[in-house]
Amino acid sequence: MKLLTLNFLTCARRACKSSADAFPLHPRDVELEIVEAEPNPSFLSNILPRLEWPALVTLCAELGLPGLPGEAPEVAELTAGEDGKGGKLAEDLHRLLLETTVKEGALVCGSCGHEYRVKEGIANFLLPSHLV
C-alpha cells in the first residue's frame, strides 16, 4: 500500500466516523518496500492540494523517514526549475507517496484501537459484523 493511500484512509468503523482520531491510522511494526513507478507529474499536481499535510508529516515521523517541510509546498513548486519538472521536491514526493509502500504489518485506529492487518501490501478492512 502506497503511503499516498494512507493519507486518505480512515478507520472503517461507524462509531469512529465522527472521531478526529480515526485519521490518520498509525503504522505498527511495518515493513516498508520501495516499488518503482513511472513519474506522473500531472497526477502529483492534482493530488497535492488534497493531501492532509500534517498527517503526512506525522506518518514520516512515525516511520522514521526523513523529515518533510512543516508546510505543504505549492503546486507551482512542482513545475518549477529550468526543465519545469520541479527538481528534487517533485522527485522526493514521487518517491515518498507513490513508490514507498507498506508491505507487512498493521495500521491502528487512534480512536478505537482497532488493528488492520497488512499482508503482501493488502490491508484487511473486513469488519466482524458487531463492529460495522
Binding site: N46, R50, N124, V132
Partner: protein, 277 residues
C-alpha cells in the same frame, strides 16, 4: 442466465479456482475491458486522477485505468476494494499497479471525505443486493455503500457502476439508494433487451467545476446527440426512425452545415439506450 449471487456469497464463489478461471478467460477479459472503457468515457476525466474501483477483483478493470495514455488524460492511480481474497491474490500475481484492500463495500468506504476524483465499479454491485447474514439487509448494505461512496468523492466527482440488475425492481432499488445518498443519478443501457444488454448507473456529486447534475453528464457523453434529444420537432424522413442512427447522423450533418460543433459518430451512435430519472 444463472446468477452466481443466488447460490453463494462472493468470497466463496470467487475462490481460487474460479478467480483464476475468471481472470484467464479471454472472453471475460474482452467484455470487462470494453465495459471499463465505456465507464471511463462516461467519467470523461481529462487529467490523471485518483480513482476508486469497487469490486476490483483481479484487477482487469483497474489495469485499464493504469494504462490510459497521457494524451488521453492518464495514467490514473487507483485503489481497489474486493471481498474475495482469491481474486486479490490473482491481482497480486498480475502485479497490478493499484493498491488493494480486502473489504466489503456493503460495510462502507473507509476513506476521508473528498478523497477520490472518480469511482468505477464493473460487474460487482449486483452482489450487494444480497444480505450476507441474518443481521443485515440488502437495503442496509446498499445504503452504507452509497453513503460512503458519496462522501469519499470530491465535489464535482463522478462514479459509474456497471452492474447486472436481476430485474426492474432491483434497478430501482440500487438507483434509489444512490439518490438517497445525495447523488444525481442516471441509468444508461447499451443494447437493452438483447443478450448483451449492459446497465450503467452514472452518478454525479454536485459542486465543483464539472456539471454535477445528470443533464451535464448526458451533454458530456461522446455519443449522445444532445442537439436532437429533448427539443423534439423536425421531420422524420421515410425509412428513418426518429432517434435512430440514420436520423441522428442526418441531424448531425444538418447541424454541422449550420456551423455547430457535433460529436463525431461512433459505434455507439444511435444505439438503443435508456436514460431514466
Amino acid at each position: 442466465m444463472s446468477r452466481p449471487e443466488d447460490h453463494l456469497p462472493p468470497d466463496l464463489f470467487y475462490n481460487d479456482a474460479e478467480s483464476r478461471k475468471y481472470t484467464t478467460s479471454s472472453r471475460i477479459q474482452h467484455i470487462q475491458s470494453s465495459m471499463t472503457h465505456r465507464a471511463l468515457s462516461l467519467l470523461s476525466l481529462s487529467s490523471p486522477s485518483l480513482i476508486l474501483d469497487i469490486g476490483c477483483g483481479s484487477g482487469l478493470s483497474g489495469s485499464i485505468l493504469s494504462s490510459v495514455a497521457p494524451e488521453d488524460g492518464g495514467p490514473h492511480v487507483w485503489i481497489g476494494l474486493d471481498i474475495s481474497e482469491s481474486m486479490l491474490g490473482v491481482a497480486l500475481e498480475r502485479e497490478v499497479e493499484g493498491d488493494l484492500f480486502l473489504a466489503d463495500a456493503g460495510q462502507g468506504v473507509p476513506f476521508r471525505p473528498g478523497t477520490f476524483d472518480a469511482a468505477i465499479s464493473i460487474s460487482a454491485v449486483q452482489w450487494l443486493c444480497n444480505a450476507e447474514s441474518s443481521e443485515e439487509s440488502a437495503q442496509g448494505r446498499l445504503t452504507r455503500f452509497f453513503n460512503g461512496l458519496y462522501a469519499s468523492l470530491r465535489r464535482g466527482g463522478r462514479a459509474v457502476c456497471q452492474f447486472y440488475p436481476r430485474n426492474e425492481e432491483q434497478k430501482r432499488m440500487v438507483s434509489s439508494a444512490a439518490i438517497r445518498a445525495g447523488f444525481g443519478a442516471g441509468l444508461l443501457e447499451d443494447d437493452p433487451g438483447t443478450k448483451s444488454a449492459k446497465t450503467y448507473l452514472v452518478l454525479t456529486v454536485g459542486g465543483g467545476e464539472l456539471a454535477g447534475d445528470i443533464t451535464g453528464v448526458v451533454e458530456g457523453l461522446d455519443d449522445v446527440d444532445v442537439v436532437d434529444g429533448r427539443r423534439g420537432g423536425g421531420k422524420v424522413k421515410r425509412g428513418e426512425r426518429k432517434g435512430g442512427k440514420a436520423w441522428i447522423i442526418r441531424k448531425k450533418e444538418q447541424m454541422e452545415r449550420k456551423g455547430k460543433v457535433v460529436k463525431p459518430n461512433s459505434k455507439y451512435t444511435g444505439r438503443k439506450r435508456k436514460i431514466a430519472f
